[in-house]
């Protein structure tokens, strides 16, 4: 049962107060995009066994979406951060690399 800190409330809340939202940092492809890009955007997922960036909504709390960097093999959480970003912030990346030196963002 996961425990995540909502970056907006600053409260550490358990999974049952949140709703999961799948892969984070997806780029939306709309009209005019290629079938490939659109398929990738909607369906194709890295589904990493390891470092994973994902969306959560503090549904039973402030109602805000936030993002988390989590290891899907150990469930270690490297940090949570604002949903208003297109890529993981530097400090999160540092935290991850501190634990996994050979890891680098795609």
């Amino acid at each position: 049962m996961l425990l995540l800190t909502c970056p907006y409330c600053g409260a550490s809340v358990e999974e049952t107060e949140l709703t999961p939202g799948g892969e984070a940092h997806l780029k939306r492809y709309g009209p005019g995009s290629t079938d490939q890009d659109f398929e990738a955007y909607l369906f194709l997922r890295p589904n990493k066994k390891g470092v994973h960036f994902e969306r959560w909504r503090h549904a039973y709390g402030c109602g805000k979406w936030f993002l988390a960097a989590r290891d899907t093999a150990t469930l270690e959480v490297f940090g949570t951060y604002s949903a208003q970003t297109t890529k993981p912030p530097a400090e999160i990346i540092e935290t991850i690399q501190a634990k996994h030196p050979d890891w680098s963002p795609e």
Binding site: M1, L2, L3, P31, L42, R57, A59, V77, Q84
Partner: protein, 1014 residues
């Protein structure tokens, strides 16, 4: 003969006698007895039957690891199978029956299995019962099922009389186990100021200490425990819970503990069980160690027990398990049992010690008491059918030729101890094999890790492999200090280490089979898993057949899969497996440890959620009125809406017809409060609305309404409803009942995660309003009669307009929208006035025969009008284009959610089925979900289809069946007749029954809309 001793028994209060029954026989025990100790005290040696061979079974342990002594407990609403006698405290009126036998415990037909045992080795059922085919289901399986299973099934109509609850706790530290190690750890943490929750599964704290005895800090065991408990109770930051088992450790420091509040006092008006849902920064598992049996022929017979258990029964309960008890061991600790028995005035014919030599203080003490010690010796066989009458001895080194026979009525065995590492392992903690002490203990380098990637479970004391008291205490003290320091407590205040006067013990010698050279005949009489009847020979068979992984062996033999989860059998079993594979034990490894540590009640898991509060029930402000009218309810999400309001003797369909006729002919009232209402406001609201809806919303004028469609990004219709523009930068979005929360979340998702620079706020105001549809030719008349401060005439408030108004004194928002095709006003008033407004409408509406109608009438009327219904015409695979809703899909907008998806090849395919109306030729009602047949079969031999019914009703208005459906090229085939299947069951040889229906326009009623636009 097992019996109660004249004196002794630390746990029992001889002043307080308790009466109970076993298999109908009245028995007595003392307060503090467990059912097991009480049964033994009453001479009840056989307490149950084994799973597979139905062998007679007696009590073998004194705790949570008990595989044999399981009973049906209680009656009716308090009946419970498979209750462990060794952890069941007795109470007045307790009634228990033994399990898994017919006709009786002593004479069990199933025992033939035992005679046939040789034909029923591990996994025999995989190799037979193959022919003839039908026999498995009809002959073999029923037989196997009957003889399998353990306790009785509760009666289907009995209802649990007890209540249950949960409790959430957040602490620095959970200490599982209040033995000497756990207590010391708790003291250290408490003194350092940490918040500590100590959970002890037993009713008494102290663990093994009271029975094993020792001097700690110059105090007797009991005094030291009392002192520790007393100090702990003084700390506000410490909570100590007896009868509370830590049942599982989960990710991110989540811990479940199972508190048994009323099992020992069923008449107390408390919840029976309380499930603790704990968040702990750290977990200390001070869970001790469990003794292992020895694998000698006949080790499963009633009267053969763990040495520690025999000791517990004598010392804790004042119960003798036999007049003459042979102790068989490979370690010193078992000598404590011999000494305890002897000190109780009972006889120990000899101690059979498999080790070549036995020295050390305990051994000396035993010898000093005149007990013969036979070293290098083993048990070759146990005589007696339903109980022990003698044991045959042999050399441990040999193959088992009997050297002598010793008359005895009990055997106390000890094969060494295994640390209880379950809580360490539940969440992935790894183990290491300690060859000297022959057990797995926690590998400190590989603990289970939490959300910070840090280890969060620590075993200490015996659970960490420190078995001998002086080691236990030293280990507990130092490890606890380290944990406390890590958690930010100051070890300085932790108090001084304990001084222990205990007797050092000689090392044990690992003994996996006894005697060492036993042949297959003997090995097939050595039990590993007493409950599931798994023997040494079975594990060896598994290895022989290639089930080399310990996980395969487990599943092939069912070793460790019984209700005790192999607490006694697993280590012995995998040692045997390793031997047979010529592997070393650590390479074979253990099976996965899974929660719960011991089984927990389903009731506790569900907690308070039963009956009325099984699930939240959402009620509109008018709910009570519906209830008073005996509405027939239809669940919609967590809401409940009236399906119809049957009157006395009226059928549901009769009621629906009446409601529709009343509405179409005069006046109907619908509680539409459950409809979603979301406010969308801001400079970018129009732009946002245009992205949400397939049609153009930004162009909507304030004061007007527009029907709109929402699609998922994958192109499929997800919701529809009427949008009202409140002012230039504010929209009111109506969603379906099921859609309100979903769509609001959906909006927030896009606003927060994609278009966060757009200035838009949303609020879900669904429940702020009671919304009532006033429908029918007399709708306006009623509102006028109530009196409105605003002109509601067709001119002032035309179809698809809205206005604020004061109606009959109620502040209201009035929408000229219609889902029925009639003149209709949807009137929203604040929820707090909803019921009053509803009552007013009925009062004033009486003269118009105002009739409340339910969801079914609503559905029929919308179908008569050809309006689609989300969930009927749509099912997650339908796009607006399929439903002839092109008019609602803006061509001007270059983007909206779902637009890109709708341009994929399969979505633009002209062969997609399209919405049409359907009329059976004979006027009958098409069956729900029936399919339109097409010629031939597909590549997989399935009948081809060319369409399906999406909704179908009897229309009272037209007095015939009407339906809508999706049909291949439907709109181009008006008038064509299709064949629909009406059979829902295929009967071999029979061709499906069918009915013919004509393709027509989906609008069956008032196509020009003359009625709604008046």
């Amino acid at each position: 003969m097992t019996t109660r001793l004249a004196q002794g028994g630390l746990r029992i209060d001889r002043q307080k006698q308790i009466e109970f029954t076993f298999n109908g026989k009245r028995m007595t025990g003392f307060e503090g007895d467990t059912l097991a100790s009480a049964l033994l005290a009453n001479g009840q040696k056989i307490v149950g039957r084994s799973f597979k061979y139905h062998r007679p079974r007696g009590v073998v342990t004194s705790g949570a690891e008990e595989p044999n002594a399981l009973v049906n407990l209680g009656e009716k609403g308090r009946f419970e199978p498979n209750q462990r006698a060794t952890t069941t405290e007795i109470f007045d009126g307790l009634s228990a029956t033994s399990q898994n036998h017919w006709p009786s415990l002593d004479w069990d037909i199933g025992e033939v299995n035992a005679l046939a045992a040789r034909f029923l080795p591990a996994g025999f059922y995989y190799k037979t019962f193959i022919h003839p085919r039908p026999f498995w289901k009809h002959v073999f399986e029923p037989f196997i099922r009957q003889s399998a299973g353990l306790g009785k099934a509760p009666h289907p109509e009995d209802r649990d009389e007890d209540r249950y609850e949960h409790f959430y706790a957040h602490v620095d530290l959970v200490v599982a186990g209040a033995g000497v190690a756990g207590l010391q750890a708790a003291l250290v943490a408490a003194r350092a100021g940490l918040q500590v929750l100590v959970c002890e599964q037993a009713p008494r704290i102290g663990g093994r200490l009271p029975v094993d005895g020792a001097e700690i800090d110059g105090l007797s065991a009991s005094d030291w425990i009392a002192k520790a408990a007393d100090e702990l109770s003084g700390y506000p930051n410490v909570e100590l819970r007896p009868r509370t088992q830590v049942s599982g450790v989960y990710d991110h420091g989540y811990v479940l503990a199972y508190e048994r509040l009323a099992d020992h006092a069923p008449d107390a008006d408390t919840p029976r069980h309380r499930l603790w849902r704990i968040r702990a920064r750290h977990v200390i598992a001070a869970t001790g160690a469990l003794e292992r049996p020895l694998s000698f022929p006949g080790n499963d017979k009633p009267g053969v027990m763990l040495a520690s258990a025999v000791r517990d029964y004598v010392v804790d309960y004042g119960v003798s398990v036999g007049d003459r008890t042979v102790v068989v061991t490979n370690n010193d600790d078992a000598y404590r049992t011999a000494i305890a028995i002897k000190s109780a005035g009972l006889d120990v014919p000899c101690i059979v010690d498999a080790r070549a030599t036995a020295a050390g203080l305990l051994v000396e003490e035993a010898r000093a008491l005149g007990i013969t010690v036979k070293t290098g010796t083993a048990i070759a066989g146990v005589k007696g059918l339903r109980g022990v009458v003698a044991v045959q001895l042999c050399a441990q080194a040999g193959e088992g030729s009997v050297t002598e026979e010793i008359v005895c009525d009990a055997v106390a065995m000890s094969g060494g101890w295994s640390p209880v590492v379950h809580l360490w392992s539940h969440c992935g903690g790894k183990l290491t094999w300690d060859a000297d002490q022959a057990f797995f203990r926690p590998d400190h380098a590989r603990p289970p890790t939490d959300h910070n990637g840090a280890g969060f479970v620590t075993c200490l004391g015996a659970a960490d492999g420190a078995l001998q008291l002086q080691d236990t205490v030293a280990n507990a003290d130092s490890v606890a200090r380290a944990v406390v320091a890590e958690l930010g407590g100051s070890a300085a205040d932790a108090g001084s280490p304990l001084s222990v006067a205990a007797r050092p013990e000689a090392p044990l010698e690992p003994i996996w089979v006894m005697p060492q050279g036993a042949g297959v005949k003997k090995r097939s009489k050595m039990w590993l898993d007493f409950q599931n009847d798994v023997k040494v020979s079975d594990v060896q068979l598994a290895a022989r057949e290639g089930f080399e992984s310990v996980e395969h062996t487990k599943r092939y033999t069912t070793l460790g899969m019984a209700t005790d989860q192999g607490k006694l059998s697993n280590i012995n079993g995998l040692a045997i497996l390793a031997q047979s594979l010529n592997e070393n034990i650590p390479r074979v490894g253990t099976t996965t440890f899974r929660p719960p540590y011991t089984p927990i009640s389903m009731g506790a898991i569900a907690g308070e959620a039963r009956g009325e509060i099984f699930q939240p029930l959402r009620r509109t402000p008018i709910h009570a009125w519906h209830d008073d009218q005996a509405a027939y309810w239809e669940p919609v999400g967590h809401w409940r809406r009236p399906y119809c309001y049957p009157r006395d003797g009226e059928s549901h369909s009769g009621a629906v017809t009446r409601e529709i006729n009343a509405t179409r002919s005069s006046l109907g009232l619908l509680d539409a409060s459950t409809l979603g209402k979301i406010i969308v406001k801001g400079p970018d609201a129009g732009r946002f609305m245009d992205m949400l809806y397939t049609n153009m919303m930004s162009s909507l004028k304030p004061g007007r309404c527009r029907y709109g469609l929402m699609c998922s990004e994958n192109g499929f219709l997800i919701d529809d409803g009427v949008v009202a523009r409140l002012d230039d930068d504010t929209f009111l979005v109506h969603t379906t009942t099921g859609g309100a929360d979903r769509i609001h979340g959906w909006m927030e998702d896009w606003l927060q995660c994609e278009w966060w620079d757009w200035e838009v706020f949303t609020v879900n105001v669904t429940e702020q309003w009671a919304q009532i549809a006033v429908v029918g030719p007399n709708a306006r008349a009623l509102l006028d009669k109530l009196g409105s401060d605003t002109d509601l005439s067709a001119e002032a408030l035309p179809f698809m307009a809205w206005t604020d108004a004061k109606i009959g004194g109620f502040y209201a928002r009035v929408f000229r929208i219609s889902f029925s095709g009639e003149l209709s006003f949807e009137v929203a008033v604040p929820a707090s006035q909803g019921r009053a407004f509803w009552d007013a409408l009925h009062a004033e509406g009486a003269e118009f025969n105002a009739t409340a109608y339910g969801t079914e009438a609503l559905h029929v009327m919308r179908a008569e009008k050809g309006f689609i219904m989300i969930g009927d015409e749509t099912d997650g695979t339908v796009i607006p284009q399929d439903l002839g809703l092109h008019w609602a899909i803006s061509k001007k907008k270059e983007d909206y959610l779902g637009k890109r998806a709708q341009s994929r090849s399969h979505m633009t395919d002209p062969d997609r089925w399209q919405l049409v109306g359907l009329e059976t030729l004979d006027g009958s009602v098409l069956p729900d979900g029936s399919y339109a047949l097409a010629e031939g079969e597909n590549a997989n031999g399935q009948g081809n289809t060319q369409g399906r019914v999406t909704s179908t009703y009897y229309s009272p208005t037209l007095d015939r069946g009407i339906a809508m459906g999706l049909v291949l090229h439907g709109p181009d085939r008006m008038g064509e007749v299709l064949t629909f299947n009406t059979t829902k069951k295929i009967v071999k040889g029979e061709k499906p029954k069918t009915v013919k229906a004509k393709i027509v326009s989906p609008v069956f009623y008032d196509p020009e809309g003359e009625k709604q636009n008046v």
